[in-house]
């Protein structure tokens, strides 16, 4: 059988992001896949040479449009640890609330795109309809639907009033109810299962060895989630990672679906346990030293390596995003699959090329 190379992406009807794969196929079966990146490469890490550490918050928020707030939180946590700044308890809870709202809208966005990828357009529209509520909450509480710029070094720059908290809880009740209505479709529907069960299998051993992150890792049965590190206020919130054992597209979808509902619960816990008090600590000085800080993005583990030299400009900001980690696992999932399953498998890692190429 002759081998053919088929380009998949960067522009493709099912791809929300410009990932490009060269697929080596024999007949309809994929034998090998090679990635090609660089379509949206920006080199944002380099900007640390001309933007001080406070200005870098706005830069890292633009690494990703979907989890802007979580990038800023990770960066601020690192600078705070380097400078020995104690963040007020209330600010830690606020960070959890906005982080989990980000996770909910990111997962709802992905669930919609995923449904669209296997041809279930009505489900796509339902998930995006639900997501709008979260975008409204972001806009009402942080002033923007996408770039939720609430973090500052030392805490947050925005607070939530009791009325806003009550309103968020009401909206989340609706989000939870509407999401649960789609549970039977996403997890039990015959057509969905035919397109996802046993497709793009990544074993537990492969996921671990290839450095998979987030739902891609947990969908292969590895219970690893950076929220277990108890950063921000997660030490005062009940949390256990969601896992699924089979390592296929269905498992990764199931993890994200259940994490959406889990995040609703986490926001409720955070609101109910949030203490009164200050939202930011004043500080003086510049960061010095080096450290690694990690948090959990919707797509998985986010790592920042920061190095400060005692000036206002950091020596180095290195960002490792989860999609970058999930590309080698994707290359392991594709060989042996049918060409028609490639869009579903590629989407199953929830690729964010904006993050990947920074």
């Amino acid at each position: 059988m002759a081998r053919t190379i088929i380009p998949f992406g960067p522009q493709h009807p099912v791809l929300p992001e410009p990932i490009h794969l060269k697929l080596v196929v024999e007949d309809e079966i994929v034998k090998e896949a090679l990635p090609q990146l660089g379509y949206v490469h920006r080199g944002l890490e380099k900007l640390t040479e001309i933007r001080d550490f406070n200005q870098m918050i706005q830069i890292v928020e633009r690494v990703c449009g979907i989890c802007s707030k979580i990038h800023a939180m990770c960066f601020c946590q690192g600078v705070e640890e380097m400078m020995g700044i104690e963040v007020p308890e209330r600010a830690k809870f606020l960070r959890v609330i906005w982080s989990e709202l980000h996770r909910i809208h990111s997962h709802l966005l992905w669930l919609g795109l995923y449904a669209d990828a296997f041809g279930f357009e009505s489900v796509f529209m339902q998930f995006w309809r639900i997501r709008e509520k979260i975008m409204d909450i972001n806009e009402a509480t942080a002033g923007n639907r996408v770039i939720v710029s609430v973090n500052v070094v030392g805490g947050t720059r925005a607070d939530l009033s009791p009325e806003q908290c009550n309103w968020i809880l009401q909206e989340l009740d609706w989000v939870e109810k509407e999401t649960k209505r789609l549970q039977a479709v996403m997890l039990d529907d015959y057509t969905v299962k035919k397109r996802t069960v046993g497709v793009g299998v990544l074993t537990r051993e492969q996921a671990y060895a290839l450095g998979a992150a987030g739902p891609t890792l947990r969908g292969s049965g590895v219970a690893q989630d950076m929220r277990q590190f108890k950063y921000a206020a997660f030490d005062k919130i009940d949390f256990a990672p969601v896992t699924a054992p089979d390592g296929d597209c269905y498992s990764r979808g199931k993890v994200r679906f259940l994490e959406t509902l889990q995040s609703v619960d986490l926001v409720r816990q955070a609101i109910s346990r949030m203490p009164q008090g200050e939202i930011a600590t004043k500080f003086k000085g510049n960061p010095e030293g080096e450290l690694v800080t990690r948090v959990e993005q919707p797509r998985g583990e986010l790592l920042y390596y920061l190095k400060g030299n005692g000036t206002k400009f950091l020596e180095r900001v290195r960002i490792r995003t989860p999609t970058f980690a999930n590309i080698p696992p994707l290359l392991a999932m594709l060989p042996g699959c049918e060409l028609a399953d490639v869009p579903v498998i590629a989407l199953s890692i929830d690729p964010c090329i904006s993050c990947t190429e920074r």
Binding site: G38, E315, R316, P328
Partner: protein
């Protein structure tokens, strides 16, 4: 001052140390390259195991090719290519080498992330 606890390795020992960690169940998270001075680069190898972290630190002169750890650990393939794109560091034995074109176009000859001196792709 906050410091990172690291294990210092040399170009001769880095592959062996990585292999030892992998055999002990450590998982590589990523690698970070730092332009230390006009003469030196530093590459950090970040690992975790059950939420604990360990880091290897490799300091080497500019212009020197260092051994690739990708044959030991395939997940390093994109990270090493990224470092080659951004800093011009060459990795000996890198099995899937994008030759400095993972992110950047062929006509880009400089290494954009170098701070103290602009490297040239080899």
């Amino acid at each position: 001052m906050k410091t990172l606890d690291t294990i210092t390795v040399t170009p001769e020992t880095v592959v062996g140390e990585v292999a030892k960690l992998v055999t002990s169940g450590w998982r590589m998270i990523t690698m970070s390259c730092v332009d230390l001075s006009p003469e030196q680069f530093e590459v950090l190898y970040h690992f975790d195991k059950e939420l604990a972290e360990t880091h290897l630190r490799l300091t080497f002169p500019k212009g020197m090719a260092i051994p690739s750890v990708t044959p030991t650990l395939f997940m390093a393939v994109l990270v090493e290519n990224e470092i080659k794109d951004h800093f011009g560091v060459c990795f000996d034995g890198l099995p899937l080498d994008f030759d400095g074109k993972l992110y950047l176009e062929e006509e880009v000859k400089a290494t954009p992330f170098c701070k103290y001196s602009t490297g040239t792709k080899q």
